[in-house]
Structures are given as C-alpha cells and as structure tokens.
C-alpha cells in the first residue's frame, strides 16, 4: 500500500551568489486526489521565486495521474499569487498534453480561508441543487469551472448558447448565488478615548480605518497604548505589534492615572481585567499579519454575542510590514498593500471594530516629510492624523490630514483657517 504513505521531498537551489535555499514538501496521494503540503525555508519572506517555482513544479510532477491536487502552503510559498486561483506551471508540462487537460489545482492560504469564488462548481452542488452535472457540463464547454469564471463571462451570450434544458432561469439563479447579500451595519457609535477625540470629532470611529502618521518618536505608540488602555476596561483589544513596542508597564501607568479607586487590591483587580482584555500578537512580516487577521475574522464570525466584544484593532507600524514588500516587485507589493488595507476595512465594517494603524514618514520634496507607503495608500484610510513633536519641549502637535467631515466649518472661532491643535499634555511626558 505504498501510495497511502506520506512521502517527503525536498528541493534545493543554489543561487548565483553561492547561497543555498531550500524548500520541502510532504505529499500523500490517492486515485483522484493528491494532497501536498509545501513549506518554504523557515517560512521567511526571503524564499526566492526560483525555489517557489521549483517547489510547485515538483508538487505538480508528483501529482501526475491525479485529477485533483490540493496544494496547501503557507503564504510564503504562494506569495506572488495573492488570489488563490487555478493555475498551472505550463513550462513543465509542454510535453504532456493529456496531463494538462486534467490538471486542476486548488491552493489555499490558511486553514480557514477557502475563498468562495475559487471553489469549483462541483462543490456548490450540495448547497444549490441547481448546479447539476448537465449544467456543469454546459459550463465546462464554455470554459467555466468556478464561480470566478462565471463572473467574467457574458451571461446573455451563454444563454443564447444554452440548450433546451438550461434556461435563462438557471443562469439567473446562478448569478444570485454568486452575489452575497450586502448588509448595512449601523456605525454611528463613536469612541471617546483621549484628547485626540476633540480633533477627530468625538473619537476614533468604529467601522473606519484611522491612520496615525508621524516621524520617529512623535508619540504614536504612546497614543496607541493609551487608547488601548482606555478601551480595554470595557472591550477587547487586539494589538498587532511589529516592533516590540507593546509595553505592559505603560498600560499600567496610564491606567494608574485614570483609576481612582482607593485600595491597591481593587486597583490590581482592574489592572488584571484590563490586561486580560488586551491581546497582543507579535508579527514580523505581512503574511503573519494576514494570518492573524484571517483567524480574527473567523473567530469574530463564529463567536456568540455575549461577553466582552472586540472593539479595537491596533496595528503598530503597518509601514514596517509593507515597506519591504513594496520595494521588491512593484505590482505584487502594491497589490499586497491594498489587499491588507481592504481586509482591515472589511473587518472594521463587518464586525464593528475601530481600526488604528500607524505609519511612518519619509522625506518628500523640499525636505519636508510626507507619509510613507506612497500615493496608492492615501485612499485607504478614512482619516489621517499627523503627529509631531515640537522641538525642545514636551509638546506634541496633531494635525488632521484627512477626515470624512473635514469641510465642516470649525466651531471654534479663534482658529479660523487653522486645523491644528496643540496638546500640551497628551500624557506622554517623560517620567
């Protein structure tokens, strides 16, 4: 029973500059199905495209004779292919025509995210009995194998081609299946968190993505920590930390300033509760962040509505995660950045979270600094806030760069024409 055993394979590549890079895979095969698990070398971003290509081609070669191959690989291995779509490495199979025709690959990012559009139509049959084999055969004859293909094609032409038993009714139903319902979540609630609330018009909005930009040591992390400590008294907070900047001591310090309970024991209790409400994840590359966010999404979708709800998501230095990817290859990097932004916005809107991300600045024209991550990122956040430190003092300035209600005339008559507020005491001073 040899074919039911797990087999191990390893691909090694020696780069031009002498470096060795390694990837390994485990596979198990049955008649029509092969499962193949691939791992990059140490799961690092540094896995080269060459290794990836070799790994994947090896996986395909193993799967010779199978109708279906399920390729399960972490982000690192399938990094260029952001959307898990059906693909094949043509170069390896030029000579094998019949294998090509039967080759279907399904890849998934993490355990929980099999995107519904990429699934083949066969899988939807149990849920929607309208997709019976004759319909699928009709679709296959037009090159439609998944819902994604269905979206690209011209449906009215298909209806014209349809045979007698496939009516336009079926096609119409098919469209309705592919279109999920869009819900409207009420997000009028604002959070009163700290003094920046005044600037932001009441607080960080739930359901929106707020960005804090600023040069180094301009108080961004402190603002995040204070926000987290304020919110964690009543709700859960997820803190995604990329630069080891999360500090429980600071949280305790901020809490100490606002709690005015006499006994030390009661204070301790509150402190314990707050600390248990803050979940801190350390991530060091963007794929780990995607993983955390997908896990969060599935957790939020299936949790029951009792107990402490998660209301705040903080990503400390999203620029640290995205900048390495942006530099390497232009289209993939930007696509990764934008899909991260959309995922954050989706989480904010669908699960009623307030999302706070931190960004750095880079040098712009004329020597003044501008926010990092470029022009494409500008349209992602709902509001942007620029923090800076006034030289030689403990004052910090905050300036709004963008806000949904920015064109409102200011209520305060003394600051006509200026959208800047000085905060003498953001609570950030040197201890």
């Amino acid at each position: 029973m040899e074919r039911f055993r797990w087999r191990h394979g390893c691909e090694e590549i020696r780069e031009k500059d002498g470096k060795k890079d390694k990837g390994e895979y485990w596979h198990w095969g049955f008649e029509f199905l092969t499962l193949c698990f691939c791992f990059g070398s140490g799961g690092q971003l540094a896995t080269t495209p060459a290794v990836k290509a070799r790994l994947l081609s090896a996986a395909l070669f193993i799967a010779g004779g199978s109708d279906h191959v399920v390729l399960v690989a972490p982000y690192e291995v399938v990094e260029p292919y952001i959307r898990p779509s059906l693909w094949a490495l043509e170069s390896n199979f030029q000579a094998e025509d019949e294998l090509k025709k039967r080759r279907r690959l399904f890849s998934s990012f993490s355990i929980s995210s099999l995107v519904k559009y990429m699934a083949p139509l066969k899988n939807l049959e149990t849920e929607y009995p309208i997709i019976d084999p004759s319909f699928r055969k009709f679709c296959a004859s037009h090159g439609i194998f998944s819902v994604e293909d269905f979206l690209i094609h011209d449906l009215y032409m298909l209806a014209a081609f349809a045979e007698q038993d496939i009516s336009s009714e079926r096609l119409k139903e098919m469209i309705c299946i592919s279109h999920g319902g869009m819900e409207w979540n009420c997000w009028k609630m604002l959070k009163g968190i700290n003094m920046i609330d005044l600037l932001l018009g009441g607080g960080i909005h739930i359901g929106q993505l707020t960005e804090l930009v600023g040069p180094s040591s301009s108080g961004k992390t402190q603002v995040c920590l204070q926000t987290a400590s304020n919110v964690a008294s009543n709700h859960m907070v997820l803190y995604i930390d990329t630069s080891n900047s999360f500090s429980p001591e600071r949280i305790a310090y901020f809490l100490g300033k606002i709690i005015d309970v006499a006994s030390a024991q009661a204070k301790n209790q509150i402190l314990q509760k707050v600390m248990s409400n803050i979940l801190c994840h350390s991530v060091f590359d963007i794929f780990a962040m995607f993983d955390v966010l997908h896990q969060l999404e599935s957790h939020l979708r299936y949790q029951d509505a009792g107990g402490c709800q998660m209301r705040l998501l903080i990503v400390d230095s999203i620029s640290l995660l995205i900048s390495p990817v942006l530099g390497s290859s232009s289209t993939q990097g930007r696509a990764l950045m934008l899909s991260a932004g959309y995922l954050l916005k989706k989480l904010a809107h669908q699960h009623n979270l307030a999302v706070l991300v931190i960004n750095h600045t880079v040098g712009g024209e004329g020597g003044c600094s501008k926010p990092a991550l470029g022009d494409s990122w500008k349209s992602i956040p709902h509001s942007r806030l620029f923090l800076s430190c006034v030289r030689g003092s403990n004052d910090y300035n905050a300036l709004i760069l963008k806000h949904p209600s920015m064109d409102q005339p200011l209520q305060d008559d003394t600051s006509i024409g200026s959208r800047e507020r000085n905060f003498i005491d953001l609570g950030i001073g040197i201890d």
Binding site: P80, R83, A88, D97, K101, H179, E365, G366, K370, S379
Partner: protein, 338 residues
C-alpha cells in the same frame, strides 16, 4: 401592400416634436460644479483627481440633488425626484456624513422659503416644520441605494445582479434610478494587476486578468444603461505630475515650519496632454464620454464668503473647455467662486 407602405412612410412626429420630447424625458442636468457642459442620462462622466480633492463630495451632492423632490409641501427643493445608486468600491463612505448633508440641504431650503413669506413665530409651526423635514428625509433616504464591494469579484457580481434589483425597486416603489455613482473605479486596479493567474493552454478559459475584468465591467454597465438609462459618474484617484503635486503639510498654516509657497501651482494648463498618468485600461477610457480633473489649491484669496473651507479647482478635460472653475464645498452644497 400599397397602404402598408404608405402607412410606413407616414410621419409620427416632426424633428422639433422629437427634440421637445427628448428634452422633457431626458433633460440636461446642470449640477454644480459641473455646469459648464450639459450632461444627460446616458453619459459616462469621470472625475479624476488626487486624494482629498472633494471628488466623493461632488458625487454625494449630485446624489442629494437627485433624490430631493422638485417641490414638496409648498417648498421648492430644486431636486430631480429620482433614485440614485451608489456603488462604493473605496469602502470609505460615511453614511452619517451623508445624512448630515441631506438634512442641511432640507433645512436650508425650508428656511429660505419661509423667510420670504413670514417669520416662524409659533411653536406649533416649528414643530410641524420639523415633522415635515423628517418625513422628507425618510422619503429621500428610501431613494438612496447603496452597496459596497471589497473585491473585483463582488463588483462584477453586483453589476450582474443590479438589473434585477433595479427592476424590483421600480416595481415596488415606482422609482426610476437616474444616477449611478461609482466611487473609485480604479480601486481594484492594482489588486487585479497583481493577481496573475495562468490559464491552461488550450482550454477556452478566460483568466482573471485586468483586461478581462475591465472588459466585463464595461460590458455590464453598457448593458445596464440600455435597460435603465442612467447618468454614470465615477471617481478616479490619480497622482498628478510634478508640476501639480501637492504636499498636504505645506498648506499655509502660519506656525507650520515648512510653509512656503514654493510648490504652489501654475494653474494654466493649455496643452492637451493629460497632467496625470492614465492607468485605466483602454476599454474603460473609450467608454468615458466626459472627463473632469479636480484638485486642491492653496489660494484662499477669493474665498470671502466661506473663509473656513478650502478652494478646489475644476478643469474639463473632455470636452476641453478653456477655463478653470474655482469652487468650494460647504455643508449646503457646492458653490462656484469664479
């Protein structure tokens, strides 16, 4: 046979009658600040501009003008009384802001009409006015349809099912949708470009390339326009070239250290070349019938009536109009300055 031919040759209406009928059914819309060139149902207008240049605001004001009735309870609001459909691809739409703006417009129209007649002295009148305003607000919000897409797949699915949804609206409420607003048609451009899916050679299978997706989108909108004639307005975020580049931090706030007007723009653009890099595929570019460029200015000198609001510059690229409009946005609408 002869009578058939003759009846076929008989005229149904003269050219003048036809023009009058078309003008009545599909009038030219003059929405500020797009008042230079008359646009009508069936046109596709593209509003290009860098980030934070009030493009979405223009869309919102157009939607408000569309959903307000022409006249209601004796007060004239000057709207069109039709439905508007907003497809949010940027996912940044703020419904509380939208309702605020709608309320401002309703109240402003109500108060300006009353001033002419008589002062509102009694409490009862005030309460009644509030009640009418609320009713009108509810009526208008029913006419505003909104949907949001996080992905090109969702966008395509929305477009394909839009026909049935609009048909249902028409049957249920008797409302026609006259305005289709798409916020950021280029939102998924980089995502689609980045997702390269190889297609199996030899199969007649369309792969998910940027080209195929854009073609599908344009085809769907075209089909939709045949059955539901609408005015399509889409925004597009662009990055202007060096001459027009703006850095948000060099606005003239006195205390700000880097505030100098070194990078204030030359506003004359006489060449026909686009001042920004066009990234949308050719199939979309040829679908667009009108193109506008909006951007922010630092120039606050003309802004006497609305000192707190920033001034924007609008330029018609297609059809080219040799003048620039300055306008400002406030809570009650868009005001042309020059």
């Amino acid at each position: 046979m002869g009578s058939h031919a003759k009846s076929w040759l008989l005229e149904h209406e003269t050219a003048r009658e036809m023009l009058e009928r078309v003008q009545a059914e599909r009038p030219f819309l003059l929405l500020p600040p797009l008042h230079r060139v008359p646009i009508r149902v069936g046109n596709v207008v593209e509003l290009a501009g860098p980030s934070s240049s009030s493009k979405t605001h223009i869309l919102i004001q157009a939607a408000i003008t569309c959903i307000l009735p022409k006249q209601w309870n004796g007060v004239s609001y000057g709207g069109l009384g039709h439905s508007a459909m907003f497809i949010d691809l940027d996912c940044r739409f703020d419904i509380s802001r939208f309702s605020e703006l709608l309320n401002h417009r309703i109240m402003e129209a109500g108060s300006s009409s009353k001033v002419g007649c008589h002062k509102m002295e009694s409490e009862a009148q005030f309460a009644r006015m509030e009640h009418y305003n609320e009713e009108l607000f509810a009526l208008c919000m029913k006419r505003f349809l909104y949907t949001r897409c996080y992905d090109s797949s969702e966008f395509l699915a929305t477009l394909k099912t839009l026909h049935y949804r609009l048909q249902k609206e028409r049957q249920a409420h008797g409302l026609n949708v006259h305005l289709l607003l798409i916020d950021s048609i280029g939102a998924f451009h980089w995502l689609d470009r980045g997702s390269s899916s190889f297609s199996l050679e030899g199969d007649n299978r369309k792969s998910w390339h940027l080209q195929n997706v854009s073609e599908a989108v344009v085809q769907e909108i075209r089909r939709l326009l045949l059955v539901h004639p609408m005015l399509v307005m889409a925004t597009k975020a662009v990055a202007l070239g060096n001459k027009y580049s703006t850095n948000e931090l060099t606005r003239s706030y006195g205390k700000w250290p880097a505030a100098d007007n070194q990078y204030s723009r030359n506003v004359t653009s006489t060449d026909q070349k686009l001042p920004y890099r066009e990234y949308m595929p050719a199939v979309w570019q040829s679908f667009v019938t009108h193109r506008i460029l909006v951007r922010d200015t630092d120039d606050d000198s003309v802004n006497d009536e609305h000192p707190n609001n920033s001034v924007f510059l609008l330029e018609w690229l297609m059809p080219p109009v040799n003048s620039l409009d300055k306008f400002t946005v406030t809570n009650t609408g868009v005001f042309i300055l020059s």
